[in-house]
């Protein structure tokens, strides 16, 4: 009897096992910020093997400033882990033999005491393994939870794990990984050298550094994230803390959708600034309409401009002037009863009324540096799309009278220089005829321009004419 029922049980199990698709096994693709692993296209759960190493390394926190980071995977933040709802995650945590500290990992995506911390507690030179079922979809923070937890997090041990929902989120063109955190250093912001951790500042929650992706500038300049006009971007935003809540904001864009606190519902639309709690996350999506550089900040704004919380998204593509015109006018604003402000004559040194060409070149060089260099740059190269070049400029060679007119009267509206269109404003320069003659003579004889000389008389003649030809037409 007993044997019979055992047999039938056995048969049932065999049948059950056969009916189930055998779970496939794969190794998780891990990426460092700002990159995100590719979306998972599987429709069935799999066993996913994740291998992460903890290390303690000295790295750059800001220019000239180093810090001993405790890391997952050698960098701050730790690698982005992507799994799918229902996956069985087999986690291997290895602690580098040179580590001084034991480490572990508490994944907020784990259901169970400590989020895996106890099971992954690892002495230097050892590896731990544990497994968990990714039951809850969403974007979760993971961090080291070895006592004293505050210090392990403060030194850089955090990252994000995305449990992709069974019903996938809408496809987007680009996904990026941005993680904010703060660092508490003995020295003040920018103080050079290897900076030790300051427990005092950590306890009082006054950091000197608030950064995106682990260091000042990690998401700016050459490290900026990029996209094209017309594309939809999804940011997976985490906040490692250890203490501060982020007022996450993208200057010049509005988040079309935000999955607040990293849940799976795009539950809010048209969001300007979204809160990202310490040890929490948010997902922000937006479509890009216009090109330019968009600045990511913690809009608790002193953190951005004084402590490093600045990132950049560089968007290329065609302008759409109906969405954003750029600067349309810059006119002199005269307050009531005011007048053109001029430097009192007494402060000006006596100037000769005529100069030789070589005197003009030397004088013009000084005047150029004082009046023109800020926009047109030291070698007359200008700034693309903003200020036209004066070097090898076809605009200058064509017509001296027009050139003089620009300096005397200013210029605004669209012009073409060396086949590039510029649409900005140059103010009328408050310079004497001789000064203008000198600076233009200097320009005409510099940076590959064709040479020549401008006289004070030419300038005086232009000045006497009405200025209409250099002003934009009224409509």
């Amino acid at each position: 009897m007993f044997r019979k029922s055992m047999l039938s049980l056995g048969i049932m199990f065999t049948w059950f096992a056969l009916a189930q698709e055998p779970m496939s096994t794969e190794k998780a693709v891990l990426t460092h910020a700002p990159d995100v692993p590719p979306a998972i296209t599987r429709t069935q759960p799999a066993k996913v093997v994740v291998e992460v190493e903890t290390t303690e390394v000295i790295k750059r926190l800001a220019d000239g400033v180093d810090y001993t980071f405790w890391t997952f995977g050698g960098k701050v933040p730790g690698p982005f882990i992507r799994v799918r709802e229902g996956d069985l995650v087999e986690f291997h945590l290895s602690n580098h033999p040179n580590s001084k500290m034991p480490h572990n990992i508490d994944l907020h995506a784990v259901t169970g005491p400590g989020g895996g911390a106890a099971s992954s507690f690892t002495t230097p030179g050892h590896s731990s393994q544990f497994s968990f079922k990714a039951r809850n979809p969403g974007l979760y923070v993971y961090h080291c939870a070895t006592a004293p937890v505050g210090m392990h997090i403060a030194n850089g041990m955090y990252g994000l794990i995305l449990v992709q929902p069974e019903v996938p989120m809408p496809a987007v063109d680009r996904e990026y990984y941005v993680m904010q955190s703060e660092f508490y250093t003995e020295g003040a912001y920018g103080e050079e050298g290897l900076q030790p951790f300051s427990m005092k500042k950590a306890l009082t929650e006054i950091p000197d550094y608030v950064v995106f992706n682990g260091s000042v500038g990690a998401l700016a300049g050459d490290n900026a994230i990029t996209a094209n006009v017309g594309e939809t971007v999804r940011l997976y935003v985490g906040n490692g803390g250890p203490n501060l809540i982020s007022s996450f904001h993208l200057i010049g864009e509005i988040f079309d959708s935000v999955y607040t606190e990293g849940g799976v519902l795009a539950n809010q639309h048209q969001v300007q600034t979204t809160l990202v709690p310490a040890g929490g996350s948010a997902i922000a999506e937006f479509k890009l309409e216009v090109p330019g550089t968009f600045i990511l900040v913690d809009h608790s704004i002193f953190r951005a401009f004084n402590k490093g919380a600045i990132g950049m998204l560089k968007v290329s593509g065609p302008e759409d002037l109906t969405v954003y015109s750029g600067k349309q006018a810059d006119t002199v604003y005269l307050a009531e009863g005011g007048a053109i402000q001029t430097v009192p004559a007494a402060d000006k040194p006596e100037l000769p009324t005529t100069m030789t060409k070589s005197e003009k070149l030397a004088f013009g060089d000084r005047l150029y540096k004082a009046n023109c260099l800020a926009c047109h740059q030291s070698e007359g190269q200008g700034i693309p799309a903003a200020f036209p070049p004066l070097a090898k400029s076809d605009f200058i060679t064509v017509d001296d009278e027009r050139t003089i007119g620009v300096v005397v009267n200013g210029l605004q509206g669209e012009i073409t220089v060396n086949n590039h269109k510029f649409n900005s404003v140059m103010p009328a320069m408050q310079l004497t005829d001789l000064e203008i003659a000198s600076v233009l003579t200097f320009v005409k004889n510099s940076w590959g321009n064709t040479g020549g000389e401008i006289t004070s008389d030419q300038v005086a003649k232009v000045r006497a004419k009405p200025a209409a030809n250099t002003q934009p037409q009224e409509h």
């Binding site: 303690e56 040179n98 580590s99 034991p102 106890a118 006592a147 210090m151 030194n155 427990m199």
Partner: protein, 263 residues
């Protein structure tokens, strides 16, 4: 506090104790109280009887003599049960602690298991210090007996954790000693203790069940006595990550000896 201070004075004043301090490279630590970082609610402080503690951590040179004298503790001979594969992995070979171009004879020995450390101390007629003894010695300051009251004491301790382990450890005895003349309790290596895994066991099994045993996240702070003593959190967390056969890069030892119960 006053009691500690008096004991301290006596320890310095007594010529017999002072001479004892100089012998056998050991220092007498007077009896006194030790406040554990983790303790049950009814237990406030532990009384630690007087004991002697090595002035310096055990060096590679000293450990080499031990290895030479007892064949079982050579790298190639030790069973995995007593020391894992990292055992003496910083040594060139069984009887040569210095790899090519490196002199680490006077540096503290590391990569030794608890079993090896215990055997070493036994070979000297000593034993490993208990956690209570080690922690009591670790609380002694650099300029005054009680480090808790010394300005910057914890910061000094913490500084070590912010620096990665150097490829070759410095020699022992280079940093400032504590007021009893014990060197390198902090800032050089971790050290084995006799009962390294017992931080959370009170001996009262029914009491134990109410203690939050996990040293992780919030649990790490439950029941702690001094939240600012991050260095102590580090040590307790570190010890609880160990197994007796582990040999780890920055983990060495020094030996102790009882005063009353010598036999």
């Amino acid at each position: 506090m006053i009691q500690l201070f008096l004991i301290n004075l006596i320890a310095f004043a007594d010529p017999e104790i002072a001479s004892e301090n100089l012998s056998k490279g050991m220092v007498l630590v007077p009896a006194g109280q030790y406040l554990p970082l983790y303790r049950s609610t009814d237990q406030q402080a532990s009384w630690v009887p007087a004991f002697k503690l090595d002035r310096y951590p055990v060096t590679n040179a000293e450990f080499l003599e031990f290895v030479k004298a007892s064949g079982n503790w050579r790298k190639s001979a030790v069973p995995a049960l007593f020391a894992d594969e990292h055992y003496l992995s910083h040594w060139a070979n069984d009887l040569e602690p210095n790899p090519e171009g490196i002199d680490q004879l006077q540096s503290p020995v590391t990569h030794i298991s608890w079993f090896a450390a215990k055997a070493y101390c036994a070979s000297k007629g000593k034993r490993l210090p208990t956690v209570a003894e080690w922690e009591r010695a670790a609380q002694i300051g650099f300029s005054q007996f009680d480090g808790h009251n010394e300005a910057g004491f914890y910061d000094k301790l913490l500084a070590w954790y912010g620096k990665p382990t150097p490829q070759v450890l410095p020699a022992v005895g280079l940093s400032k000693s504590n007021v009893l003349g014990i060197y390198d309790m902090h800032g050089l290596v971790w050290e084995w203790t006799q009962d390294f895994q017992s931080a959370l066991v009170t001996g009262e099994s029914r009491g134990d069940s109410a203690i939050e045993r996990t040293l992780f996240c919030g649990g790490g702070a439950v029941g702690a006595s001094d939240f600012k003593n991050y260095a102590a959190f580090m040590r307790f967390a570190y010890r609880s990550s160990l197994q007796a056969n582990y040999a780890v890069a920055s983990l060495g030892c020094r030996c102790a000896e009882g005063v009353e119960d010598e036999n």
